[in-house]
C-alpha cells in the first residue's frame, strides 16, 4: 500500500482538476467509476435457468456451425461490364464537392470506394475548410445511408411517382392556374446557390407576385440585420482571428456552432500556437450564459445571462467613450464592472488588432453596437472585414410570420416547401401545421419523412448532397460546384430540380441547369473551366470584394442605446443549436446522437442547463424534470447543473424530441421548439417550476477517469501554466510533475527506422468532437445506444476528456483528447493470454481482432482506459444501406472482441505499400495523416515519424511544453501532450 503512495508523483502546480461535481464531492457513484471497469451493470449476470438454456443453445449452435463449415461459401466476383474511366478496383477515388449547413458552404473532398462515399475530408484548397471539417460535416455521410430517409414520391401518403408529380405540376404551375402568382408561396432554407438564384429569378419573372421565403431555425439573420442597422446595408462580417491579439466574445461561441464554418477555429488556433517560451499568444475574453467551447478556451470568462449581454456591450462602449454617452451600467456587481474596465483598457491598447464579436442569438442592436465598437477601435478593415452576404439578408422570422398570416387568411393557394422541416422548427405559436392545411395544394420536399412531410399533400423525397448537382458559395463568396458521387439511393431530387419544375423550365436536370448557368458566364473556355472547377472544388475569382462601410457613431449610438437596457430580473431561457442535432436535421444520425456534447458530455439527450444556485432555488438536481413556460408556450426538460453557467438562466438545446423521425431519433430527448415563440425566438423570459418527476440522463463525463484507484489521489493529467509563468520558467512543464526515478525491468527494444508518434497541443484543442466522429467514420466504430453508454460501453476510440478547475460555480475548462497512446512498454500486451495485441516494429500497439478471445485483461490493465470491448455484435441486422458506410480497409468487428485506436494503421500501410511500389524507401512527413489529425480544425493533433528530426511531430515533442501522461509507470507512451497555456490579464487576476 505504502509503495503506491511513494510511486504516485506529485504536482507542483497545486491546481485541482475534476470532471464532474460528484467527483469533486466524492460521491459513491463516482467512486464506482474509478474502482470498477463497468459499474452500472457492466456484466449482465446470467441466472442458473437461463444459463442452462444458454448451454443448450451453445451446443446446438456448435453442431450447426460444424455442419455449415463443411460447405465452402461461394463468393462471386462481379466486374463491370464496361470499364469506368479512372476507376481502379481497390483504390479509392476522391471527389471535390461542397456541403451547406446553415447557409454558407464548406468545401469537401469525399472518398469513394467502388462508387460509394465512405469518408468525408475537408478540401485543402477551399477557403472555408482549408482541409478541416466539423463533426456535423463528417456525419453527413451517415445521413446519406440513413435507411429511414424519405423513399419515393407520395401523394397524401399513397405511393405516387415523379412522373405523376411533374404532370400535376405542369398544370398547377401554369400561368392559367397561378396567374401573377399571388397565391404561390415557396418556403425554402437559406441558400447561397447561384444556380438556384437563377431559377428563382425565372420564377419571379413568370409569377411576379409569388413570394420566396427563406427560413432556418438556426440562422445568422441577426448579425446581418445588425450591420444593416449600423451601415444602412446588410453585410456579412468576416472576423480575422489570426490577426487579432485581443478578442471579446459576447455570447458568441465562435469556436463552436456560432460560426458558419470551421475557419474561425483555424484562425484562432494559429494565434494560440507557440513554438517556445518567447512566443506571444492572443487573449480571449468571453461573456456568456451557457458554458460554450469558446468560454472553455477563454482566458477570462464572465458568466452572465444572455439577455444582459446588451447592457454589458453598452457599458463597454461607454467605457470606450463611443458616442460620448454617460455610463449606464446599472446593477453592475463589482466583478462585472472590473471585467468591463479591464477589457475596455485591453481593447483600447490593441486598436486595429482586436475583435469584438456577438453571437447570433443576440438582437440586432447588439450587433450594430459591436460593429460600432469595432469601427471605433479601428478594427474595421483590419481584423473585421465586411462583404455582401452570400444569402439573402432578410428577417426570416418576420417573413414566416407574414407567410403564416397569409396562409391563415386564405391568400395562399399553393405552398411549396423546399427542404427543412418548418412544421417542427417554425415558432411554436404560429402553429404552422394547421396553417399549412389552409393552402389548397401543398408540396413538400424533405430528406426524411418528418413532421412537415406528414402535413403535406405532395410528399417528395429530397436527394442528399452527394446524390445531386448544385452549387454554393462559401461565406467569402467563393463558389463551388456540388458534385454527386452516387445516383439517388431513394429516388430523391434536389431543391434545385423541384424549383425548376415550379418555374416550368424545359430542362429540369440539376446538372444541366448548373452547367449551363456557368457555361454562359465562361463562354469559350466553358468546358475547360467546368472541369477545372470540379477538380479544384471551387471556381477561381468568385470571392466577393470587401466593402468598407462606416457608421455615424453618435447617431447610431443614440438610436440603439435605449434597446440595450438590462433585462428585468427573473429566469431567462436561451436556445442553442445541438452539438449533436444542429436544428434537428441530425436527429436520426446515430453518430451524432452518441457523440457526447462537448461541454456536458451528455449523449442521446438535451438537458436544460442551469447553475447550481438556480437549481437549488428550483429544488432541482440532475435529472429533475422542469416545466418551463414562456409567453403561453410550455415544455418540459430534465435539469442538469453545469458548473460555470450563469445564474437565473437556462440553456436549452434544439433538435430533439422529434415525433416524426426515423428509428434513431424518434422520441430522443425533449422538444424545446415548442417553447420558441415568434416574439422571443432566441432568448425569452420564462417561468420555471419543478415537476417533481425525474428522468435519466446519461453523461460520459465520469467514464474512464484516470483517478488513482487505490489512493484516490488526483494524478497530474492536464498541465497548464500562464504565459507569464511559462515565459519566466520555460521548464515549467518539465518540473510540474515530479517523477521518481524508474528502473527498467527488461531490456529495452531499439526503435529504429520509421517510428510513429503523436503530439496533441492542449493549447489548440477546443474539444469540438470532429476527431471523434471522423475516427468513427474511418474505423467502422459502432454505435451502442443510450442504455449501453450508461453502462460505460461506448465504443469511441478517441474520447474528449473535459476537466474543470477552479471555483465550483465558475470554473475554467481544459479539454484533452485521449486515445490509445501506443505505449512502448504496453501493459496490455503482457497480459493478453493469446497474444492478440502485440507490438509492431514501428511502435504501434497492434490489435489482431481475429485472435482476440475477449478476456478483457488488456482493458483492465490499461492505465489510460482507452480499450473498448464489443459486448454485442453491434453490426448484426444492419440495414443493407448502412453497410455501405463501412470503410473497406478496416475490419468490421464481431462480438467479444477488444478494439482501440491504432493510429489509423490502414492509412499507414496503404502509404507504405504505395511508396515501396514506387521505390521510395521512406515516407515523407505528412504522407500519412491519421483521421483525427486530418479533420482537426485547430490542428491540435500532429502525427508522424518521431525518428525524423525534421517531422512536425518531432518538432512538437522537442518543445518544453511536451509531457506524457502517467510517466511514472514507465510505459513510454508514444502520444504526448503539449501543456496548456493561458494568457490572463494581470488586472483581472485576483489577489
Amino acid at each position: 500500500m505504502s509503495q503506491f503512495v511513494q510511486i504516485n508523483p506529485t504536482t507542483t502546480t497545486g491546481k485541482k482538476y475534476w470532471r464532474s461535481l460528484s467527483q469533486l464531492s466524492g460521491t459513491p457513484e463516482f467512486k464506482q467509476w474509478v474502482e470498477q471497469e463497468f459499474p452500472a451493470g457492466g456484466v449482465d449476470a446470467i441466472s442458473s435457468s437461463s444459463r442452462r438454456n444458454l448451454l443448450k443453445l451453445m451446443a446446438a449452435s456448435f453442431g450447426l456451425a460444424g455442419l455449415a463449415a463443411c460447405r465452402r461459401p461461394v463468393e462471386h466476383i462481379l466486374p463491370h461490364s464496361k470499364g469506368v474511366e479512372g476507376l481502379i478496383h481497390g483504390k479509392p477515388l476522391h471527389y471535390a464537392t461542397v456541403a451547406t449547413v446553415g447557409g454558407a458552404a464548406t468545401g469537401l473532398m469525399v472518398e469513394t470506394h467502388e462508387g460509394r462515399p465512405t469518408k468525408i475530408e475537408g478540401n485543402e484548397k477551399h477557403p472555408a475548410s482549408l482541409g478541416a471539417t466539423s463533426a456535423h460535416m463528417q456525419a453527413l455521410l451517415l445521413n446519406l445511408y440513413d435507411p429511414d430517409r424519405a423513399k419515393g414520391v407520395k401523394r397524401n401518403g399513397a405511393r405516387s411517382s415523379w412522373d405523376e408529380f411533374t404532370a400535376w405540376a405542369k398544370d398547377e404551375f401554369s400561368a392559367a392556374k397561378q396567374g401573377d402568382g399571388s397565391g404561390l408561396r415557396i418556403l425554402a432554407e437559406h441558400s447561397s446557390s447561384p444556380s438556384l438564384q437563377s431559377v428563382r429569378n425565372e420564377i419571379a419573372r413568370k409569377f411576379p407576385k409569388a413570394q420566396w421565403v427563406e427560413f432556418d431555425s438556426v440562422n445568422f439573420d441577426n448579425p446581418r440585420l445588425g450591420t444593416a442597422l449600423a451601415f444602412g446595408q446588410p453585410l456579412e462580417a468576416h472576423y480575422q482571428y489570426d490577426k487579432a491579439d485581443v478578442v471579446l466574445a459576447l455570447d458568441a461561441d465562435f469556436l463552436g456552432l456560432d460560426s458558419q464554418s470551421v475557419l474561425p477555429v483555424k484562425q484562432f488556433s494559429a494565434k494560440r500556437r507557440v513554438s517556445d517560451h518567447n512566443s506571444q499568444i492572443n487573449r480571449l475574453y468571453a461573456a456568456e450564459s451557457n458554458y460554450s467551447m469558446t468560454g472553455a478556451m477563454a482566458d477570462h470568462r464572465l458568466r452572465l445571462r444572455s439577455s444582459d449581454i446588451g447592457a454589458l456591450a453598452l457599458a463597454l462602449a461607454t467605457e470606450l467613450n463611443i458616442g460620448g454617452a454617460l455610463k449606464v451600467l446599472s446593477n453592475a456587481s463589482d466583478d462585472k464592472a472590473r471585467f468591463v474596465a479591464a477589457v475596455a483598457k485591453d481593447l483600447a491598447a490593441h486598436k486595429g488588432r482586436s475583435i469584438v464579436v456577438a453571437g447570433p442569438r443576440q438582437p440586432r442592436e447588439v450587433h450594430a453596437l459591436v460593429a460600432l465598437v469595432n469601427q471605433a477601435l479601428g478594427n474595421t478593415g483590419e481584423t473585421v472585414i465586411y462583404t455582401q452576404p452570400v444569402v439573402t439578408a432578410i428577417d426570416s422570422l418576420a417573413a414566416v410570420n407574414q407567410l403564416t398570416s397569409d396562409l391563415n387568411s386564405g391568400q395562399v393557394k399553393t405552398l411549396v416547401v423546399l427542404g427543412g422541416n418548418p412544421v417542427y422548427t417554425l415558432p411554436a405559436d404560429l402553429n404552422f401545421a394547421k396553417s399549412m392545411s389552409k393552402a389548397a395544394s401543398t408540396v413538400v420536399l424533405t430528406a426524411e419523412e418528418n413532421e412537415t412531410w406528414a402535413a403535406a399533400q405532395w410528399q417528395l423525397p429530397e436527394a442528399h448532397i452527394f446524390e445531386s448537382w448544385g452549387d454554393a458559395r462559401a461565406l467569402d463568396g467563393t463558389v463551388s460546384i456540388q458534385q454527386p458521387m452516387v445516383a439517388p439511393l431513394y429516388y430523391g431530387k434536389p431543391a434545385l430540380e423541384v424549383a425548376a419544375i415550379v418555374a416550368g423550365l424545359e430542362n429540369t436536370r440539376a446538372h444541366d441547369i448548373v452547367k449551363s448557368n456557368w457555361s454562359a458566364k465562361w463562354g469559350a473556355t466553358a468546358e475547360k473551366s467546368w472541369k477545372q472547377a470540379l477538380y479544384n472544388g471551387f471556381i477561381d475569382g468568385t470571392k466577393l470584394e470587401t466593402v468598407k462601410p462606416s457608421a455615424d457613431a453618435a447617431r447610431l449610438f443614440a438610436a440603439i442605446a435605449p434597446a440595450l437596457k438590462p433585462a428585468p430580473a427573473g429566469i431567462e431561457i436561451a436556445f442553442f443549436p445541438g452539438h449533436s442535432t444542429w436544428d434537428g436535421r441530425f436527429a436520426n444520425n446515430a453518430w451524432m446522437q452518441e457523440a457526447p456534447d462537448p461541454m456536458t458530455k451528455i449523449v442521446w439527450d438535451n438537458p436544460a442547463l442551469l447553475s447550481q444556485t438556480t437549481a437549488t432555488k428550483l429544488g432541482a438536481v440532475n435529472g429533475t424534470l422542469l416545466t418551463i413556460s414562456a409567453a403561453g408556450l410550455k415544455a418540459t426538460a430534465p435539469a442538469m447543473v453545469m458548473p460555470g453557467h450563469a445564474d437565473d438562466s437556462i440553456s436549452l438545446t434544439l433538435g430533439y424530441g422529434r415525433s416524426a423521425c426515423g428509428r434513431v431519433g424518434r422520441g430522443v430527448g425533449h422538444r424545446i421548439e415548442g417553447l420558441r415563440g415568434s416574439a422571443a425566438f432566441h432568448i425569452a423570459p420564462a417561468t420555471v417550476s419543478n415537476s417533481g418527476a425525474t428522468y435519466q440522463l446519461v453523461t460520459t463525463q465520469e467514464h474512464h477517469t484516470l483517478e488513482e484507484p487505490i489512493t484516490g489521489k488526483l494524478r497530474p493529467i492536464v498541465l497548464e501554466a500562464t504565459m507569464a509563468e511559462y515565459h519566466h520558467h520555460p521548464d515549467h512543464f518539465e518540473h510540474a510533475v515530479h517523477v521518481p526515478e524508474v528502473v527498467n525491468m527488461f531490456e529495452q527494444f531499439e526503435w529504429k527506422g520509421q517510428q510513429w508518434g503523436m503530439a496533441i497541443d492542449l493549447n489548440a484543442c477546443t474539444g469540438c468532437n470532429a476527431c471523434l466522429v471522423a475516427c468513427q467514420a474511418e474505423n467502422n466504430i459502432p454505435v451502442v445506444g443510450k442504455d449501453q453508454v450508461r453502462r460505460g460501453r461506448e465504443m469511441h476510440w478517441i474520447r474528449l476528456d473535459r476537466y474543470f478547475t477552479g471555483k465550483m460555480d465558475d470554473p475554467q475548462v481544459v479539454n484533452q483528447p485521449m486515445a490509445c497512446v501506443q505505449c512502448e512498454n504496453a501493459p496490455c500486451e503482457s497480459v493478453c493470454p493469446v497474444a492478440a495485441t502485440t507490438h509492431s516494429p514501428e511502435g504501434l500497439n497492434d490489435m489482431a481482432y481475429n485472435r482476440c478471445v475477449g478476456t478483457r485483461y488488456c482493458a483492465n490493465n490499461c492505465p489510460y482506459k482507452v480499450r473498448r470491448f464489443n459486448f454485442f455484435n453491434w453490426n448484426k441486422n444492419l440495414p443493407e444501406s448502412q453497410k455501405m458506410v463501412f470503410n473497406p480497409d478496416v475490419t468490421v468487428r464481431m462480438r467479444g472482441v477488444m478494439e482501440k485506436c491504432n493510429y489509423c494503421v490502414q492509412r499507414i500501410e496503404e502509404k507504405k505499400i504505395e511508396a515501396k511500389a514506387n521505390n521510395r524507401a521512406q515516407l515523407k512527413d505528412g504522407d500519412v495523416k491519421s483521421a483525427c489529425q486530418q479533420v482537426c480544425p485547430a490542428e491540435a493533433i500532429v502525427f508522424g515519424n518521431i525518428n525524423d528530426p525534421q517531422s512536425r511531430v518531432a518538432q512538437m515533442k522537442k518543445q518544453q511544453r511536451d509531457y506524457v501522461l502517467l510517466e511514472e509507470l514507465n510505459i513510454k507512451p508514444r502520444t504526448s501532450y503539449l501543456g496548456k497555456l493561458r494568457n490572463p490579464n494581470p488586472e483581472l487576476i485576483h489577489g
Binding site: P79, S81, G83, T838, S840
Partner: protein
Amino acid sequence: MSAIFSKKFDTTLRLAVAGVVLVLAGAGGVAAYLFHPKQVDTGYTPVQPVPYSHKLHAGNLGMDCYYCHSTVETSSFAAVPTTETCMNCHHRVREKSPKLQLVRESYSNGQPIPWVKVHRLPDYVYFNHQAHVTSGVSCVSCHGRVDQMVEVKQVQPLSMAWCLECHRNPAQNIRPVEFVTKLDWTPEGDPVELGLKIIQAKGIKPPTHCSGCHR
C-alpha cells in the same frame, strides 16, 4: 461387508480416463488435420459461369497475365477483367461461339458476369497484390501454373502459417520484376542467391507483425 468396487477398479478407471483422453486428443488431431486449409481449401475448383480456359489463353496463346489482370501492379486487387476486355478480341474471334453467350449478353446488357472466386481470404486479412508483385513475387508462387489449368484451381493452402513461411524467408520466391508473370521462368543460377540479391537491392522486409495484414 464387501467392497463396492473391486481392487482392479482403480486401475480400470485410470486406464479408461487415459483412453478417453487419448481418443479425444486423437479425434482432435484427426479433425485438425482434416480441416486444415491444406485439406479443405487446396484443390478447390469451382465451376465458372463461362468455361474460360487459362491454359488456352495464357498457356497456348501466350497472353500475359497483365492483359486482363491489369491493376495487379497498382492496386490491392488483381482485377478480374471487364466484359469489354473479353470483347476486345471476341467481337472478332469466335464471335458466334455458344460458350461465349454469357459474355455477349453481359456486353450488351451491362450486367456483370458472376465469376466464382477461387482464392478466398478471410475478411480480416488485407492481402495486397501491388505490394507483392512490385517486390518480385511471381503469380506462380501463390496461384501455381495457371497457364496449365483449364479450370483455375487453388493449389496453395493460403493459411497464415503458409503466408508466414514466405514472409520469414522470402528469397525463394523473389525474382526480377520483369519475370513476375512468366510462370515457367527459372533463373540460371541458384534462385535463393538471386532472391537474396534482389532483397538486398530493394530493401524488401516482409512484415511479420499483426498489422502488416490485419487491420
